[in-house]
Symmetry: C2
Subunit: 240 residues, 2 copies
């Protein structure tokens, strides 16, 4: 059934897409607010941001339930099946992005008394803007089914990785300069790592868009997956 | 269709379960080997371990593809649908466990020249044994549909969290004692965090088993989810 026999199928697909857009909007906001909380030492904002992540979790459960029911009821094939499976994958990445951003908000409370952290937070702020831009672009690419835009996000992930490596080294330097910098630097190290992983999830979404549009997985390994030439800080870059 | 009309449906379910068992076996081995590589500074073992993760990724893709085709073809309802959706969720957790263990193997290369790291590695080794035990028990609980055993894994996750907090503090102390300890301690900090997250994924699998057996999600929040009483090191514990 390549032609849908009932319009409500398209409505169901649309409703899935709307939920993903909502999840993406919440994820962007949580990431942004967690960095603001980090910069301004705003504990109340941090706590509100931690609590806001719940909304994403609820939406993910709804997407998953609806998607599975659609597959069971409609028996979609080929491109339709890809659409639904793609929605499940994207919602899972968005849920992880929400978790990672929430974890930054938790750390915002831990480092709030440390004014010396300000300089590293500037670099992390910059990293988070890159990641937020990637997230925004990949969600636009999804709603427009824009493969070129998705591949552009996919390629730009190396910018975030490069910045992570630089922040990682900078934080290590602060720790070595003064033991009093170690505790907050450690939290900022994990915050930077979370942003790097948010970038990875944006890249996953780009790969899902490629699969939706072409029906084929992306075969090129991303450059950072090359394990033959890694330096110690490279090891810190990726969980993949 | 509560009674399966053809035996091949059960065979398909069995084939899914076999793939999950294989994934679990590989994940246990990668976790174990990554810690051995860390302890013995064995770069060759680390590289082999990094490469071995690929097998898990391939199996996850197979589980996902087979599960989606089963849903589309069989239109399973109720308990049958839960079985298939559960298999997708568990394979996703096992794939993440493989990634996290692989990342420890990458760090094993980075810290190999640092003999001073040995003492912290002992604590991380201990943590990894707890996590490997949780993984083994939750996979047994899955194959036996043993809800009590799954809930036991779920409850014991707090042991790994407590040990993570202790390792986190210990590593911070080493860093403060001597700046030369900072680089390797940072890698070990991420390794410990990865093990803590492997424990979280074992807990996710326990929650999936509960859903498979009872049809209901687990509602009790785990103790560490309580954000009202957290101390700085608590922030470092969870991405959830």
């Amino acid at each position: 059934m390549t032609e849908h026999t009932v319009t409500s199928y398209d409505e169901e697909l649309k409703s899935l897409a709307i939920k993903l857009t909502q999840m993406g909007g919440h994820a962007e906001k949580i990431l942004n607010d967690s960095i603001v909380a980090l910069k301004t030492h705003d504990k109340d904002l941090a706590v509100r941001t931690i609590e806001a992540d719940e909304t994403i979790d609820v939406l993910e459960a709804e997407v998953e339930e609806q998607a599975v029911l659609m597959i069971a009821k409609r028996q979609p094939m080929a491109v339709d099946l890809r659409e639904i499976v793609g929605a499940i994958k994207i919602s899972s990445d968005l849920e992880r992005i929400g978790d990672l951003a929430k974890n930054i908000a938790k750390r915002a409370v831990a480092v709030q008394a440390e004014m010396d952290a300000q300089k590293s937070i500037v670099a992390i702020d910059h990293m988070s803007r890159l990641a937020a831009g990637q997230l925004k672009d990949v969600l636009d690419a999804y709603s427009q089914r824009d493969l070129a835009k998705a591949l552009d996000v996919w390629k730009r992930d190396s910018d975030i990785d490069a910045m992570y490596t630089s922040v990682f080294r900078e934080l290590l330097t602060y720790m070595m300069e003064d033991p009093r910098n170690i505790t907050f630097s450690t939290h900022l190290l994990f915050a930077a790592k979370n942003i790097e992983r948010i970038g990875d999830h944006a890249t996953n979404i780009a790969e899902t868009i490629n699969y939706l549009v072409t029906g084929e997985p992306l075969h090129d390994p991303r450059p950072k997956e090359d394990i033959s030439s890694f330096t110690p800080s490279d090891y810190a870059q990726t969980d993949d």
